[in-house]
C-alpha cells in the first residue's frame, strides 16, 4: 500500500481509534496521545501491514490497543472524564440534545468493564466483523458473539437505569 493511501485511510480511522482508546484509557487526552503515537508507528513501519491478511482497520486498531495497554502499564488513570462534545455546525438545540444523549451513553459505557466497552465500540461504532474483532482483541473468534451479547445486554441495562 502506498504511504499516501495509508495516510488517507488512517486519517479516516482516527476518530474511531480515538473512541476505542478513550474507552480503554478513560481519558480523551491520553487517548489522543495514544492514537498519535500509533499513527507515528504505523507510518514509520508501513511495510508491517500485509493487505493479504486483512484490511487496514483491524491492523491499525490493534496497534492503538497495544499502545493503550502500554500506557496503562506505565501510568494507571486515576479518573475517568466524560467530556462534552459540541458541534458548531448544528443548531444549538439539536446539538444540545445530541450531546445530552451522547453523555448518557458515555456514562452507561463507563459503567461497563473495559473489555465490554472495547467490543461494543469495535462492533457498533467501528463496524468491524467478528473475525476482525477477534483479531484486534486477540481472542478466539468463537467467543466474540457471546462476549458482545453480554456487553450489549449490560449496556442496555445501564442505559435504561440512567
Amino acid at each position: 500500500m502506498k504511504t499516501d493511501d495509508m495516510r488517507h485511510e488512517l486519517a479516516q480511522l482516527g476518530g474511531g481509534a480515538h473512541a476505542l482508546a478513550t474507552q480503554i484509557l478513560g481519558n480523551p487526552d491520553d487517548a489522543a496521545d495514544a492514537v498519535h503515537d500509533s499513527l507515528e508507528k504505523a507510518l514509520r513501519t508501513p511495510d508491517s501491514y500485509d493487505s493479504g491478511k486483512g484490511s487496514l482497520k483491524p491492523w491499525f486498531l490493534r496497534i492503538v490497543r497495544n499502545r493503550c495497554i502500554d500506557l496503562i502499564r506505565r501510568r494507571r488513570p486515576t479518573e475517568d472524564r466524560v467530556e462534552e462534545i459540541s458541534d458548531s455546525a448544528m443548531g444549538p438545540d439539536k446539538a444540545a440534545e445530541l450531546a445530552d444523549r451522547d453523555r448518557v451513553l458515555k456514562q452507561a459505557l463507563a459503567s461497563l468493564e473495559s473489555e465490554q466497552r472495547q467490543i461494543i465500540v469495535l462492533r457498533d461504532y467501528m463496524d468491524l466483523s467478528y473475525a476482525e474483532i477477534a483479531n484486534v482483541l486477540d481472542i478466539a473468534s468463537g467467543t466474540v458473539m457471546s462476549r458482545l451479547h453480554r456487553a450489549r445486554v449490560a449496556l442496555g441495562k445501564a442505559y435504561r437505569e440512567l
Binding site: A19, L39, I85, R101, L105, D124, M145, H149
Partner: protein
C-alpha cells in the same frame, strides 16, 4: 454454553449475531421462528437494534479526520526537522572544532596573547548566541499562548 432449539428455549446471544449478520442461514431461520413466538426475545431484539443504532449515531470522539491528518503532517514535519537540526548542529560542531584547532595549532603571525583575545571575542559571541537560543527555546516550549492567533 447455551443450547438453542425451536422448542421454546431463548436464543440468547444469537440475537446479537442476528442483528450483526453473522449467523448462518439455518441460525437466522431459528432466530426468526423463535422471535415470532417469544415476546421476550422479540423485545430484546428490538432493544438491541435500537441500542446498536444509537451507538452508531453517537459521537464518541471529538477529533475529526482533519485533526488526524494534521497530526500525521505534524509527525512528518517533526521527523524532518529533527534530522535537519541534527545535521546542522553536527556540521556546526565539526566546523567550530576544526576552526579552533586550526587557529591554535597553525603557525601564524599572531602572538599567543593576540590569539587569546581573538578567541575570547569569538568564544564570547558563541556563548551569547547559545544563551539567547536556549532562552528562546525554553520560552517557546513553556508559552501557553503560542498557538493563539491575534
Amino acid at each position: 454454553m447455551t443450547k438453542y432449539s425451536n422448542s421454546g428455549e431463548h436464543v440468547g446471544e444469537l440475537l446479537s449475531g442476528y442483528i450483526d449478520g453473522e449467523l448462518t442461514q439455518q441460525e437466522r431461520q431459528r432466530v426468526r421462528l423463535h422471535c415470532d413466538s417469544c415476546a421476550d426475545c422479540d423485545s430484546t431484539l428490538t432493544d438491541l437494534r435500537r441500542l446498536r443504532q444509537r451507538i452508531g449515531e453517537a459521537r464518541l470522539s471529538d477529533k475529526d479526520r482533519d485533526n488526524w491528518r494534521e497530526s500525521m503532517d505534524d509527525t512528518t514535519v517533526k521527523a524532518t526537522r529533527g534530522i535537519g537540526w541534527l545535521l546542522l548542529i553536527g556540521g556546526a560542531l565539526i566546523g567550530v572544532g576544526v576552526g579552533v584547532y586550526e587557529f591554535i595549532i597553525t603557525p601564524s603571525t599572531l602572538s599567543f596573547i593576540e590569539k587569546l583575545i581573538v578567541g575570547g571575542v569569538y568564544g564570547g559571541m558563541l556563548l551569547i548566541f547559545i544563551s539567547v537560543l536556549r532562552q528562546r527555546l525554553i520560552e517557546r516550549k513553556s508559552d501557553r499562548y503560542k498557538d493563539v492567533e491575534i
